[in-house]
């Protein structure tokens, strides 16, 4: 039986591991290599590694840094931040990434999703969608939550899928870092609209939050960050709780 993946998400800014609250209030939480080593030793299902300075500063991904991270990973590694060209994808895969996470570049040039999937396969292309609740309903935001796009998340997720994305990494900006639970409604609406896996992100603070977003939000995988910094829960604790709740997970 396919297991629901529990995916620690590491956010990098200026070469330091940080965490955010609603995409702001950056807090430095230490060394990324130490974090990767711990997660590898804990036998996690997958890692997502996002360098938020890359696209904000308009520079290339930090290949040497990803190479260091990949050396510690015997699990799938998805890397995002500043991935704008096929050459970027080639170089990231070359240093040991398995998937790339596209956000700004996919919004700027949706055809880039197709090019990336055509060259490296759909399984390699994860499209990240950041969503905020506004007066008009849910809206996709860009530039790390700074600017609205006018896009509806369901429409954009379906377009990403039809253009060849292999997975959707769906983040609720409102729930990010709040540790009060995922946005179930958002997750459910996107997960039911596409037939590719949706990774829910933003808001996990308690073991039951994972059960809710999988059972009620129909998420195929769950990503989390703050819970691993500010509680004692490990990925293994989460998975044991999932199994107790009747959700298949890998121990």
């Amino acid at each position: 039986m396919l297991k629901t993946r529990v995916i620690p998400c590491l956010l990098l800014k200026d070469n330091r591991l940080i965490k955010t609250i609603q995409f702001g209030e950056y807090r430095n939480i230490g060394s990324y290599i130490a974090a990767v080593k711990v997660f590898n030793a804990r036998d996690v299902d997958e890692l997502v590694f996002l360098d938020m300075s890359a696209s904000l500063e308009g520079r290339d991904p930090l290949y040497h840094l990803i190479s260091d991270v990949a050396r510690e990973c015997f699990m799938p590694l998805a890397v995002g931040g500043g991935v704008q060209t096929l050459d970027h994808i080639a170089r990231l895969l070359g240093v040991g990434a398995d998937k790339v996470v596209l956000n700004t570049s996919a919004l700027d040039h949706p055809e880039f999703i197709t090019q990336g999937a055509g060259r490296y396969g759909a399984q390699c292309i994860v499209v990240s969608i950041d969503v905020k609740k506004t007066d008009r309903g849910y809206e996709v935001y860009r530039d790390h939550g700074k600017n609205p796009t006018g896009l509806d998340p369901i429409t954009w997720a379906k377009e990403a899928e039809s253009r060849g994305a292999g997975e959707i990494f769906l983040t609720s900006i409102d729930q990010d870092g709040m540790m009060k639970g995922y946005d179930i409604g958002l997750t459910k609406s996107v997960a039911e609209a596409v037939s590719i896996p949706v990774i829910a992100s933003g808001g996990a603070g308690d073991l039951n939050h994972f059960v809710e977003v999988i059972r009620d939000g129909r998420a195929d995988a769950v990503a989390a960050a703050s819970i691993f910094q500010y509680t004692q829960y490990t990925p293994q604790d989460i998975k044991q709780h999932l199994i107790k709740s009747g959700i298949p997970a890998r121990l």
Binding site: P76, L93, A122, Q123, D220
Partner: protein
């Protein structure tokens, strides 16, 4: 020395990296001399079937691999798209496209309700070992999870070539073996402890 065959298909580097991390001397190469001098060959890769075959042909590798593996008996481990290339043909992207034809069978898309079973099949799934073999030594129930990411799978003509299966809406081939030719649909290099064990088991075969 282990040679990981470089035919420009996806995550070949991560296979080399994992082999080195567990203490094996591994190189990524498509040089005939280096492939000839390797004790074990690995055909890894992610991507499309036709690209994989086109790339192998462009590098002139099918005749060399036939000489080393099929005639010469050199242990080969093919991974993911590598496994699929061993088949007679693949149906991906307007197939049939011709494969290496070493394991009789055809590579087909999952025929499941895609509303219920999302395609690609991505993530950790448990395998069932259907035939005793060296590759899965020390891999025991209940922890038989491996990392998969694929939309197509091999329908083998001869069930005796299938050494492990997996379930995702339908039962499909998770691993095959025909003498010295072994292959996994999952990614051992991404499957943590279980995957490392499979790689070690393969490299212990002489």
């Amino acid at each position: 020395m282990v040679a990981v065959i470089d035919y420009h298909m996806g995550n070949t580097r991560s296979v080399v990296k994992t082999l080195k991390a567990i203490g094996y001397d591994a190189i990524l190469t498509n040089s005939p001399d280096e492939l000839r001098s390797a004790s074990h060959l690995i055909l890894p890769g992610v991507g499309a079937f036709k690209d994989g075959m086109d790339n192998l042909h462009a590098l002139g590798l099918p005749p060399l691999l036939d000489e080393l593996v099929v005639k010469g008996g050199r242990p080969l481990l093919a991974i993911c798209i590598g496994l699929q290339l061993l088949a007679d043909e693949g149906m991906e992207h307007g197939g049939p496209h011709k494969g290496l034809g070493w394991i009789p069978g055809r590579v087909e898309r999952f025929s499941v309700d895609e509303g219920k079973y999302k395609i690609p099949h991505v993530g950790w799934n448990n395998i069932t070992v259907t035939r005793d073999n060296q590759l899965f030594q020390w891999i025991h129930s209940p922890s038989t999870d491996f990392y998969f990411v694929h939309s197509y799978h091999l329908k083998a003509v001869h069930s005796e070539h299938v050494i492990a299966t997996c379930d995702y809406g339908e039962t499909f081939t998770a691993a095959v073996q025909k003498d010295n030719i072994m292959a996994t649909q999952f990614h051992p290099e991404k499957s943590q402890r279980n995957g490392v064990q499979v790689l070690r088991n393969f490299l212990e075969i002489s």
